[in-house]
């Protein structure tokens, strides 16, 4: 497997260094703790929003640090929870009189680290709360998690709480919004190929040339089933049906619809999937209020895509529409 790589052990730090150099006015990099934070942070007049997770899901989460979204992200190594002291030191560094909200995707290792960081930071008088994101409908339990996994839907939770914090909401209100968005967000993914972690150098799992994994996790964890390759339209139905049935979404609902690339799929294919998903929802009387097509939460170089739906109301839609200034801007 060919990759742009120097030393696999330095993969994350070299990426973070590049990110900081590309955004000198807006981002600050603290190498000791893999910390990427807003250069003007922490803002003492707002709740600090911090996300931690393993690396390998870029742009999540280091590239969505900026005004209106995250105040900081502290990633671990590829697909590994950040070490406890990274989270603890980040929390202390991001402390604000209005409090700190730690956002975490629901994986066992991440949960333990963040729970402990919250306990220890609280003991030092920092006002800090943790919110777990679990939008994946494909399986209830998985390799690294007990309960549902957090996948690309975390983008919507981050966007909404980021906007609310920017507007000046207090910690309790920010948490209410985060929990509300998480409760109406559902996702499911399909892998066409496995991904290759830099330190491993070979594919993380075996997937035959004519096979796909339906309901795959963002670390390549098994999903609902392995199937023979099928058409794009059929794959959209495989993802959309469980999502719609799960919440459930129904006739008259207005939604945000995201087609997220998992890292190795061209944008052209993502729009092809989006078109089918949009039409399929319209047939069911579900209208798309806001659409998102591109890479939001990836799995290194995995070819594949996930669909996320968020049930909109005026409050959520308004928060999603607020401006944000983050490194993955395209202008």
């Amino acid at each position: 497997m060919k990759k742009f790589l120097n030393d696999p052990q330095q993969f994350v730090s070299e990426m973070l260094e590049g990110l900081a150099l590309a955004n000198p006015d807006t981002l600050k990099y603290v190498p000791e703790y893999n910390l990427i934070m807003r250069a003007d942070g922490p803002d003492q007049n707002k709740v600090s929003i911090v996300q931690g997770s393993g690396s390998g899901h870029e742009p999540a989460h280091v590239m969505i640090v900026g005004k209106g979204m995250l105040d900081a992200a502290c990633p671990g190594d590829v697909f590994a929870a950040p070490p406890f002291d990274y989270v603890y030191e980040t929390t202390k560094m991001m402390a604000s009189p209005k409090g700190v909200l730690l956002l975490v995707n629901n994986y066992t290792g991440d949960k333990m680290v963040f729970d402990m960081a919250q306990e220890m930071s609280s003991a030092e008088g920092i006002q800090v709360q943790t919110l777990f994101i679990n939008d994946d409908v494909s399986v209830e339990d998985s390799t690294y998690t007990i309960g549902r996994r957090g996948v690309a839907g975390n983008f919507f939770v981050i966007k909404a709480v980021g906007a609310a914090a920017e507007r000046g909401a207090d910690l309790k209100e920010v948490i209410r919004i985060g929990e509300k968005v998480n409760s109406v967000t559902r996702s499911m993914g399909v892998a066409l190929t496995a991904c290759t972690p830099p330190a491993k150098g070979s594919p993380l799992f075996e997937l035959g040339d004519d096979e796909i994994e339906i309901g795959v996790g963002i670390h390549g964890e098994p999903g609902r089933r392995r199937a023979k390759m099928m058409t794009a339209n059929e794959i959209v139905d495989e993802m959309l049906t469980p999502i719609v049935q799960d919440l459930p979404f129904s006739d008259g609902d207005r939604v945000a619809l995201m087609v997220n690339g998992l890292g190795g799929t061209p944008i052209s294919e993502l729009y092809l999937l989006y078109g089918k998903a949009h039409r399929r929802l319209a047939e069911q009387g579900i209208s798309v209020g806001r659409s998102y097509v591109g890479e939001y939460c990836t799995s290194l170089d995995m070819a594949g895509a996930s669909i996320t739906m968020v049930k909109l109301d005026d409050e959520i839609e308004s928060l999603l529409m607020d401006p944000a200034e983050i490194p993955i801007r395209v202008f």
Partner: protein, 212 residues
Amino acid sequence: MTATDLADVEYVVHSLAQTAVDKEKEFGDLDAVVGDGDLGYSLARGFEKVLHDWDTFKRDDVATFLQQIALAISSRIGGTSGPLWGTAFLRASAAAKTVDTIDGAATVAMLRAAAEGIMARGGASMGDKTLLDALVPATDELDKQLAAGAPPAECRAAFAKTVRECADGTSTLQARRGRASYSGERSIGSPDAGAVAIAIIIENITGGWDKR
């Protein structure tokens, strides 16, 4: 709080750390039977840092000392061992804060706080085939001996004997937490690596007590 209290707690932590470093391979081999074999490595790296930083820890009182240990361990140990062992020390530290002297009753309270912390953090219950299945009954036994007025040496001996028996007894359990749980029924027949590790650690602590 007396100087003797702190010296005894220092002895316990130092003995624990030394055992974790010395037994890296043995603990790893135990874990490899049904787990992913990283227990020995994780503990050794974490407690290696404890020994390395030994002289730098603040020693204002037992609680402060234990909190520093918690931070050192969990900063270094990856996976789930870091937060679990870190939480154990953090909760023991909180329990130590509420007492004037570290006597038998305080020791039991600290052990219980540590076990409850591990339970809460890991979501594990008794019978899940974890180190709790050795640590909790041994703490109960220690509590019982203290209540009966047994001399300290007998209390320590009963504590060590029970932790070993219960660790060996985890062979009959099926793993329901941690990586070993993925092997399901295959985990029956081998003791839990964490439970055996805690037994060896406690045997070394009690065995070396008189020479501390």
